[in-house]
């Protein structure tokens, strides 16, 4: 099934009033997000966090950047699904224009992209933004 858009995610998460439902939603998103081929779990694609590992692969399709991401932690996968909703299959221009900080604040999950969390999510966001900056599609 297709993953929800950022708008749908914002609406969905606003609907839940307790943390448990919100985290279950993240876990479900993590389950639904397509798995990365384990062969792609290489050192070059690894973004190491001290709590969990995250992998990222990027392909260029026309003027869009297509990402595949993965983590060994299910809640981190759910968080990655939120990031994918914002960045996947988007142009470099759209990626760089998107305010990820505001988006995570809106979702009340900003703690997960703060520097205090060693889960690799912040590093993935930075990696995606760097890829977008470096791509000649800007």
């Amino acid at each position: 099934m297709a993953l929800p858009s950022t708008t749908e995610i914002i609406e969905d998460l606003e609907f839940f009033d307790d943390w448990e439902d919100r985290y279950k939603y993240l876990i479900d998103l993590g389950d639904e997000m397509p798995k990365m081929d384990p062969k792609l779990h290489t050192r070059e694609r690894l973004v190491k966090g001290c709590q969990s590992n995250v992998w990222i692969d990027v392909q260029v399709a026309g003027n869009k950047l297509c990402f595949a991401v993965d983590s060994d932690a299910i809640i981190v996968r759910g968080l990655l699904a939120l990031v994918m909703a914002a960045f996947n299959n988007k142009s470099a221009t759209d990626i760089l224009a998107f305010d990820i900080q505001a988006y995570f604040q809106r979702l009340e999950l900003e703690q997960h992209i703060s520097p205090t969390r060693g889960n690799g999510l912040r590093a993935i966001v930075a990696r995606i933004q760097n890829i977008a900056t470096a791509s000649h599609l800007v």
Partner: protein, 408 residues
């Protein structure tokens, strides 16, 4: 003297706060302990009433600050039963303490010399020696552990020979909790090398959970941090035998550590100052002395029994919890429960516990080679301190039930 945990808890203001609207259950004490009010007060008192640089001011405040600062050294020296106050070097933490020793050893080691560490090291006591050996051409030997996370004494002993220059072992493992029989290990090293090899103990995880008497241990260096022992952050101690420290290669150069300086040359100060360049962390030193004085008046035997009872209770509940596996089941442990679950990466466990007010640590615990040795990506670690209660242990397992349910 009885040990009244409720009375102790009242002295730690942070323990009455809530996290995500739940009462805080703080089980990340191996990372850092909370601070009693007396420590907070000592720091506030210093900054409010006699803040000044030490050793060099020509005024009353400098005299007061210097006296308190040097009194703290005496307090610490007596607490660990050092031979002399000159053996207590203030550092920024255990990591810097170890670096002073490795930096000096790197200058003394030669090709063919051997340094021994264990498979359970924190990176601070591993990367340091790995790099010192690389730089000097010495060989680093790594003593193996068994699946319970205990050092295999016979294998350790086999590594010791005439080439052994230094052995560095953790008092206790931060990731697993294993409490090493350091007194016995030190005496083996000394016996097998005719007192030639030096022994360093990384005491970061040991000092708060055992009674340390450096003379009785007969090691050469013992390193630890204030913040894991109810004191302020940014301060550590390197204790070393005076005969060694007196001409140990200086670590940092600059102010304080010199006796005379000309445009051409410089001479080093005497101990302890020769290894303490620059303005020290005065507030932390004064706060740490308050922590030591506070700790000393507790019934230490009773508090260690209390911590051990928490570990026993937690271990029992963990063994009864299906889908959970304890990592590190040494027969002697500091109060650390490291574990993994069938469903749930350690990071997931940490997120869900946090939402329930339960603070633990997850990940590789700065011990990546150890995680590889045990074939786990990391663990979830609950670590206890003297202010934790049996109810905290219960709350941990209530919260873990929620983890299991949510990740089912």
């Amino acid at each position: 003297m009885a040990f009244d945990v409720q009375q102790i808890r009242q002295q730690f203001p942070i323990l009455s706060r809530t996290v995500h609207n739940k009462p805080l259950v703080y089980l990340d004490n191996a990372a850092t302990t909370q601070k009693p009010q007396v420590v907070i007060d000592a720091i506030v008192d210093y900054y409010s009433n006699y803040n000044s640089n030490v050793h060099r001011g020509a005024h009353q405040l400098a005299d007061e600050a210097t006296r308190k600062y040097e009194d703290a050294r005496d307090t610490l020296a007596s607490f660990i039963n050092a031979n002399s106050r000159n053996e207590v070097i203030w550092t920024s933490g255990t990591t810097e303490s170890i670096n002073i020793v490795t930096h000096g050893m790197a200058q003394k080691l030669r090709t063919g010399d051997e340094v021994i560490v264990t498979q359970m090291e924190h990176h601070a006591n591993f990367v340091t020696w790995q790099q010192a050996c690389k730089a000097s051409g010495a060989t680093l030997l790594i003593a193996p552990i068994n699946d319970a996370g205990e050092l295999i004494t016979e294998e350790f002993i086999k590594l010791i020979n005439a080439n052994t220059r230094l052995v560095s072992i953790p008092h206790a493992s931060n990731a697993l909790g294993t409490l090493n029989p350091i007194k016995q290990l030190i005496s083996e090293v000394k016996r097998l090398t005719a007192d030639q090899a030096l022994v360093m103990i990384d005491g970061a995880q040991g000092i708060a959970h055992s009674e340390v008497d450096v003379q009785q241990l007969n090691c050469d260096f013992y390193a630890f941090s204030s913040h894991k022992f109810y004191g302020p952050t940014g301060l550590g101690v390197l204790w070393g035998k005076e005969s060694l420290l007196a001409d140990w290669p200086v670590w940092q150069t600059g102010g304080e550590m010199i006796s005379e300086v000309s445009y051409q040359d410089a001479k080093w100060n005497t101990l302890p100052y020769r290894l303490e360049a620059g303005t020290p962390n005065i507030a932390a030193v004064i706060g740490f002395a308050a922590a030591i004085n506070w700790f000393k008046q507790l019934d230490i035997k009773a508090l260690l029994e209390h911590e051990n009872a928490l570990l026993t209770q937690a271990t029992q509940m963990a063994e009864d919890f299906s889908g959970l596996r304890i990592i590190g089941s040494a027969s002697a442990k500091v109060p650390v429960l490291s574990f993994v679950m069938d469903r749930g990466h350690p990071a997931d466990i940490g997120f869900i516990l946090d939402r329930q007010g339960v603070a633990i640590r997850t990940g590789h615990h700065c011990a990546e080679p150890l995680m590889d040795r045990l074939s786990v990506p990391g663990t979830a670690r609950a670590s206890f301190a003297l202010y934790n209660t049996s109810d905290d242990v219960e709350q941990l397992f209530v919260a873990l039930k929620k983890v299991k349910m949510m990740l089912a």
